[in-house]
């Protein structure tokens, strides 16, 4: 059906665009990554040593830009992301593999919680139009959603970790533990992840609530809802099965597309809470002109969002017959 075709087309074109942007951008950079290494070495480095480093890093490639592009594409699709300059000589894939689960886990969990909570609250608020909740809630959440995310993170850290000591200061799990699947470890992960997740939820929930509320209100005015009421169906049933279900669908895709924003926020989370994910790795890669790592990180993040969008599109297509009609 043409709806799916259109969405797939979007997926691939965006993917290609991301790949190409990734390739072009890093090459505008001035400076020389070998010098970043000289900084680190801090020893008396003879010119011969500098030259040898440059050669070892493959910095003076003889290929022209198109050849580099093709090779870049080829390498990307075979999973060969190159060697990191920042963490030389660890391969980029390994660097990312370490941090990816944490970022996805934290961001994913927090976003899902925020989405579910926000949607429910939005539905509730729309259902009880004119009530106290509905009058007070929108302005409150509008204001909260305008907080700088990292500022809220700092305050949360100050209040709950430093002053009250209820939660740890940072990291994803206790220092001396190693990663295993015991309940104790899972407990640690949850305990360490609470504050960062809380910060993400608070700042992002406002958006979901308001959007859901607005779509819900529009949906409630539709004829078929009036019909359901006239038929005497229970309010709860109408709220969830009729109005809610239809109101949520357009939000599903929006939810997926907004993941890009959430990931942006994750970078700031990780800095404030010393969370071992990919956000800070990206910042470092940029500081050391680590082309390979930067490109791959950015690509990963984009692909993650794209996959989510595609999944949401497919889900919408399945659940909402209207999309199939409009094609």
């Amino acid at each position: 059906m043409s709806y799916l075709v259109r969405r797939l087309e979007f997926f691939f074109i965006t993917l290609w665009a991301a790949l190409t942007i990734n390739f072009i951008l890093p090459r505008i950079m001035p400076g020389n990554p070998a010098q970043a290494m000289i900084v680190r070495f801090r020893g008396r480095v003879s010119p011969e040593t500098v030259k040898a480093i440059e050669v070892a890093f493959g910095l003076h490639s003889n290929e022209n830009i198109f050849q580099q592009y093709l090779e870049y594409l080829r390498n990307t699709f075979t999973g060969n992301f190159g060697t990191s300059v920042t963490f030389f000589p660890v391969p980029v894939g390994d660097v990312i593999r370490q941090g990816l689960p944490w970022t996805l886990g934290l961001v994913g969990m927090a976003t899902i919680i925020a989405f579910i909570l926000g949607t429910l609250l939005g539905m509730l608020s729309a259902w009880r139009r004119g009530g106290f909740f509905d009058a007070v809630m929108p302005p409150v959440f509008i204001v909260i959603s305008a907080f700088p995310y990292f500022w809220l993170g700092l305050l949360v850290l100050l209040a709950f970790a430093l002053t009250l000591n209820w939660f740890p200061l940072g990291f994803a799990y206790d220092l001396t533990s190693s990663i295993n699947l015991s309940w104790d470890f899972v407990g640690q992960v949850i305990w360490h992840g609470t504050l960062p997740a809380l910060t993400i939820v608070i700042t992002s929930i406002g958006g979901w609530i308001l959007t859901m509320r607005n779509t819900m209100i529009t949906t409630l005015a539709e004829d078929y809802v009036k019909m359901a009421r006239a038929k005497g169906l229970s309010p709860v049933r109408i709220m969830f099965m009729y109005a809610g279900r239809n109101a949520i669908l357009p939000n599903l895709v929006g939810f997926a597309m907004s993941l890009g924003f959430v990931i942006s926020g994750a970078i700031l989370v990780e800095i404030v809470f010393n969370y071992p994910g990919l956000g800070f790795t990206l910042l470092q890669a940029v500081h050391s002109e680590d082309y390979a790592l930067m490109q791959t990180l950015f690509l990963m993040l984009t692909v993650a969002v794209l996959v989510a969008v595609l999944a949401a599109d497919l889900l919408t297509a399945v659940l909402d017959p209207r999309t199939r009609e409009h094609g």
């Binding site: 204001v143 907080f147 995310y149 500022w151 305050l155 529009t218």
Partner: protein, 306 residues
Amino acid sequence: MAVRVVTDPGPLETPVVTSRRGIAGTVGRGLSRNRKAMAGLGLFGFFLVVAILAPVVAPYDPQSLQFDQMLQPSRAHLLGTTGTGQDIFSQLVFGTRESLLIAVAAGLGATLISVIVGVSAAYLGGFSDHVLNLFTDVFLVLPTLPLMIIVGTYLNNRGLAVLIGVIVITGWSYGARQLRSQALSLRNREFLEAARARGERSLYIIVFEVLPNMTSLIVAIFFGAALYAVLAAAGLQFIGLGDPNSLSWGTMLYWAQANGALLAGSPVWVLAPGLCIAALGAAFALINYAFDEIGNPALRPVKRRQ
């Protein structure tokens, strides 16, 4: 930063502009009835006044290093002093200028591009529409902060222009979508048929007939973009990608953080700029939301029958 939920707006009810009241009148009347909008405008106006009257409001030169370092708030220094001995309150006041400048300039830039892309897509139709739509969606989906970090660092110039430019590049796509939707819905209205029948050129139709009817949406998008700009700028400056010698709220947060203010007993240095950023952002958010209510009467406290 706040999450911007991306939705395809439903059919928006915009009152058709009648010649008597004009654009400003229609928008103004809608706004004045809305409490949220008034609150938001009030806050925005307050910051505007402070920015203009900064030399009058601030007691000292914000860059002066003459005072003692890390002083607590006192009568001489309302909010205390920084790690290098500058007066925090004066910095806050003067910082309003740059923060407002970034918000408004980036907001305008992003809105301009949104309008051009969104409306063109609706009017050109066909393949052009398809391409522009894809273009918009691509930028919508790309994670913005990483993109801003990367672009900003490459250009290696920490000036204001780069900061604004980077925010504009990543912030226009949100509005373009909404504008396209609305432009599409307006396309077939009768008053436009009339204009076409008169033989007016497309460009004329777009600029003089369509755009005025989208005013409230455009203004709403401006405020949304300004909100995004405020938070994005603060985020970038906080991480350290802005110019550390500049004077804006985000830079103040950066320095406060670098000096461990929160944990070393000078939390005011962190709280004050953050609160201002939040307040300015809230102002834009409130106005933006108010436009939603204006545009979709169903959202207002009084329901309107179709």
